[in-house]
């Protein structure tokens, strides 16, 4: 793995775990702090020595302070069971994840490229459908996709931007290569934690951060508001933006509050909005006031009972009609779900090449599309090593995790796969990178991922950093908050 290990031994020795980091061993996984085989970064060396010098008791005290602080601030999500409501915090690991300037450059340009391609793809499939005619992406995969929205056909959106806020889930493999795991092009959440985690670092880890020139994350609300103002109906000079939330019982309500506060705009629910005379209004103490852009945090199906789910109580009757007549803007656009679908994901590298004539700056996780004969053959030959997924299912149904499957399961799956190859894709099992994390038995390596947030009005801007999620249980690769995952602050070095 490390090239020229002898010549690097001196500099590598500075990055040996010591002090509080004693016994930290990432094994064969890529460690985001020790970074084997990558060029040294002096800031990381300094950070490691600061961290190593912090007594473990101090780290634990700070972690306890941070946890209490999160509870008191109500930075929580509510878990409802029977008649009780329990407020849970998303665990915060106080050891930051660091991204160097050159790494960030790759992530930032890669995310911008990907968002451009997603928007061009959406524009195309809802208009000319050239990519389908050229057989780059199978027509049925798009037109029969659950996220595909007939109502969007022929409809133009400002700047051809459909995905105004995009969360791109990125992992790093054992060689240190960044790879995109999935695109979240509907209503990605988590950005509030990016900013709150930074505040928490400033409170409890400021000595670790001093002088490191970490890039700020304070701009998000302003950038988002500017993008929302850009897409507002053109004739409006001082557009009224609102955040549309399902309400206080939604698990992401804390984030909805955050977004409204950071943009300085009202946080509304469907019942606060009404459509009259072909326009959207909000009910205020001064009567009805015009609304020009809606940053909605409710799903397509619930937006407008006239257009979609007729039983929805969360939406606004007639909203989609107003949108189609250009009197109001909606972000993200309706019908973006087709672009962040698992099946489409496999085609993303080709989609990028097709529209931009560029190589993807961020690679996908190597994905084989079993509809293609060589991929099917490879998948059948390596079934025991691969993760094989049906493309039409969601929520983890019908997935075969080769290394964990019994002989019988493998044989049964082989039959399913052969019967309908075009319904499947396969990927190698991932060895996610790790980051030093405070655990019960000391500072230990735990798997992480990264979700940067891209905001697009006229142009795309990427918040430096993103949400780093960490799998707190040893060995587990699952970083989801519902599965015992936590978060870390993400430091992009200037």
């Amino acid at each position: 793995m490390p090239v020229g290990a002898a010549s690097q031994s001196q500099s590598q020795s500075q990055l040996q775990p010591h002090g509080t980091m004693q016994g930290y061993d990432p094994n064969s996984f890529f460690c985001e702090m020790l970074r084997p085989g990558q060029p040294q970064h002096p800031t990381l060396t300094l950070l490691l020595s600061r961290l190593a010098a912090l007594p473990i008791s101090s780290l634990r005290q700070r972690a306890a302070d941070a946890e209490r602080d999160l509870l008191e601030r109500g930075i929580t999500f509510t878990v409802y069971s029977d008649a009780t409501a329990i407020d849970r915090i998303l665990p915060f690991d106080l050891i930051p994840r660091v991204i160097t300037p050159s790494e960030w450059n790759q992530i930032e340009t890669g995310v911008v490229q990907r968002v451009r391609a997603l928007n061009m793809f959406l524009r195309d499939i809802y208009h000319e459908r050239k990519i389908l005619a050229d057989k780059i992406v199978p027509e049925a995969l798009v037109l029969k996709n659950a996220g595909y929205c007939e109502a969007m056909v022929g409809f133009n959106v400002p700047y051809n931007t459909y995905v105004h806020v995009c969360g791109t889930d990125i992992v790093r493999d054992e060689t240190g290569e960044f790879r995109v795991l999935e695109d979240n092009a509907r209503t990605p959440s988590g950005v509030a934690y990016v900013v709150e985690n930074r505040h928490m670092s400033l409170r409890v880890m400021s000595d670790l951060m001093t002088g490191l020139r970490v890039r700020g994350v304070e701009e998000y609300g302003l950038r988002l508001h500017n993008a929302m103002a850009e897409i507002a109906p053109a004739a409006v000079s001082d557009p009224q933006v609102v955040v549309l939330s399902p309400g206080i019982f939604n698990s992401a309500y804390f984030e909805h509050v955050f977004l409204a506060r950071e943009m300085g705009v009202p946080l509304v629910e469907g019942r606060d909005l009404t459509v009259e005379g072909g326009k959207v209004w909000m009910r205020t103490t001064a009567g009805l006031a015009a609304v020009h852009t809606i940053y909605r945090r409710i799903g397509d199906d619930f937006l407008d009972p006239d257009a979609f789910n007729p039983d929805s109580m969360l939406g606004v009757r007639g909203l989609i009609d107003c949108w189609r007549h250009g009197t109001v803007a909606i972000a993200n656009a309706v019908g973006t779900g087709v672009a962040d679908d698992k099946a489409i994901y496999a085609y993303m590298p080709r989609i990028i090449r097709y529209y931009l004539s560029e190589e993807p700056i961020l690679k996908n996780v190597e994905t084989r599309i079993c509809a293609e004969p060589e991929s099917l053959a490879y998948t059948l030959d390596h079934l025991a090593e691969l993760v094989t997924k049906p493309v039409a299912e969601s929520g983890g149904y019908g997935i075969l995790i080769g290394p964990h499957a019994s002989k019988q399961q493998l044989e049964d799956f082989r039959v399913l796969l052969k019967a309908d190859p075009s319904n499947y894709i396969s990927q190698p099992t991932l060895k996610l990178s790790v980051s030093p994390t405070l655990c019960d038995d000391g500072v230990r390596p735990r798997h992480i991922d990264l979700r940067p947030f891209a905001v697009t009005g006229k142009e795309t801007w990427v918040l430096p950093g993103g949400l780093t999620r960490v799998a707190l249980k040893q060995g587990t690769l699952v970083v989801n908050s519902s599965q015992g995952g936590g978060t870390k602050d993400t430091w992009v070095l200037a």
Binding site: L71, E72, R73, G74, D238, Q240, V243, I248, Y253, V257, A260, R261, G264, P266, L267, V268, E269, R271, D272, M282, R283, T284, T285, A286, A289
Partner: protein
């Protein structure tokens, strides 16, 4: 008011206006209830225990609900009913749950420090249990509740941006104070007046408790060092414009904030509320209260309570 011509017109969602009124009212209720419980606790030690504890559900109009759950009123049963019982809509548990839910709804509007304090206060109240209301802790719990509610008031004063939402918040606070003082006066006056000929000791003790429950004891002593007269107590609690919990002062504040909503924010349609307020305010004079109190104050206090309820309704119907 000097308004920056370059500001973005910041509208207030009607539902949020109502939420701020309720947030203020619930936090006031916690403070008032804690004070009444504390005064009753201190007061009841020398007198007939069950009679005095029953006065708490009587003040709050809770006799029926109370008797559904408890046969006799003691420190333990009244404490349980008001401090622990989440099924009782007028317990501090119900108040803080409702206050926090309102604060959550208004989270984007209120200050972070307001939210943080309410959230922590909520945690303290939700943690109360049977062990925390035993006699030796009772006053400490009441003090914790008063502290929390008053911290809220202070943080709100110091951090809540003075726009429309603030005015609605203040309207809620002052309506609630006026209402609470009226209730207090109503029940105590009812039981006190017919016993004017009773011994001075008992009367002094009862007036004393009444004024303490309204946080007005020392101020009253300063103004009336010679003793208690029912008309003077009534005037103090209704017509006095210096006592922070008098009905007259609070109604005056409601009027001031309603007027500011009209002049600074151009809100219209509040003539019903202002007219009702004018008429009500006109009754809060020393002369009028003295005259009414020399006969029977109860019908008047009933009228005031109805009118305060009517005011809340007028405001909600106008703006919300």
């Amino acid at each position: 008011m000097d308004i920056n011509p370059n500001r973005h017109t910041a509208y207030l969602i009607a539902r949020h206006a109502e939420g701020t009124i309720w947030l203020a009212r619930y936090m006031e209720r916690i403070e008032n209830l804690a004070r009444i419980l504390d005064v009753t606790n201190t007061f009841a030690r020398d007198a007939d225990d069950s009679r005095n504890w029953l006065s708490v559900p009587r003040i709050n109009g809770d006799l029926v609900e109370f008797h559904k759950r408890h046969q006799i009123a003691t420190q333990r049963t009244v404490g349980e009913f008001y401090l622990l019982d989440t099924t009782n809509e007028t317990s501090v548990q119900s108040f803080i749950i409702a206050a926090r839910e309102n604060a959550r709804t208004l989270r984007a509007l209120i200050s972070t420090e307001m939210w943080l304090q309410i959230n922590v206060f909520y945690g303290h109240i939700r943690a109360l249990d049977a062990a925390s209301i035993v006699p030796e802790h009772f006053t400490a719990v009441c003090n914790m509740l008063k502290d929390g509610a008053q911290s809220h008031t202070g943080i709100t004063e110091g951090t809540f941006y003075r726009d429309q939402a603030w005015h609605f918040y203040m309207i809620g606070r002052y309506l609630e104070r006026a209402d609470q003082t009226t209730r207090l006066l109503d029940t105590r006056f009812h039981s006190l007046v017919p016993r004017e000929d009773a011994s001075d000791n008992i009367d002094a003790g009862q007036w004393n408790a009444l004024l303490r429950a309204a946080a007005g004891y020392h101020a009253y002593r300063r103004e009336h060092p010679n003793g208690y007269h029912p008309q003077e107590v009534a005037c103090f609690l209704l017509a006095n414009r210096a006592f922070p919990r008098s009905v007259g002062l609070n109604l005056g504040r409601v009027e001031r904030h309603l007027t500011q909503l009209r002049t600074s924010y151009g809100l219209r349609g509040m003539s019903a509320a202002l007219e009702r307020l004018d008429q009500l305010n006109a009754t809060m004079t020393y002369q009028n209260v003295t005259e009414l109190a020399s006969r029977d104050l109860s019908p008047f206090l009933d009228f005031v309570q109805r009118e305060i309820g009517g005011l809340h309704q007028d405001i909600v119907e106008t703006f919300i």
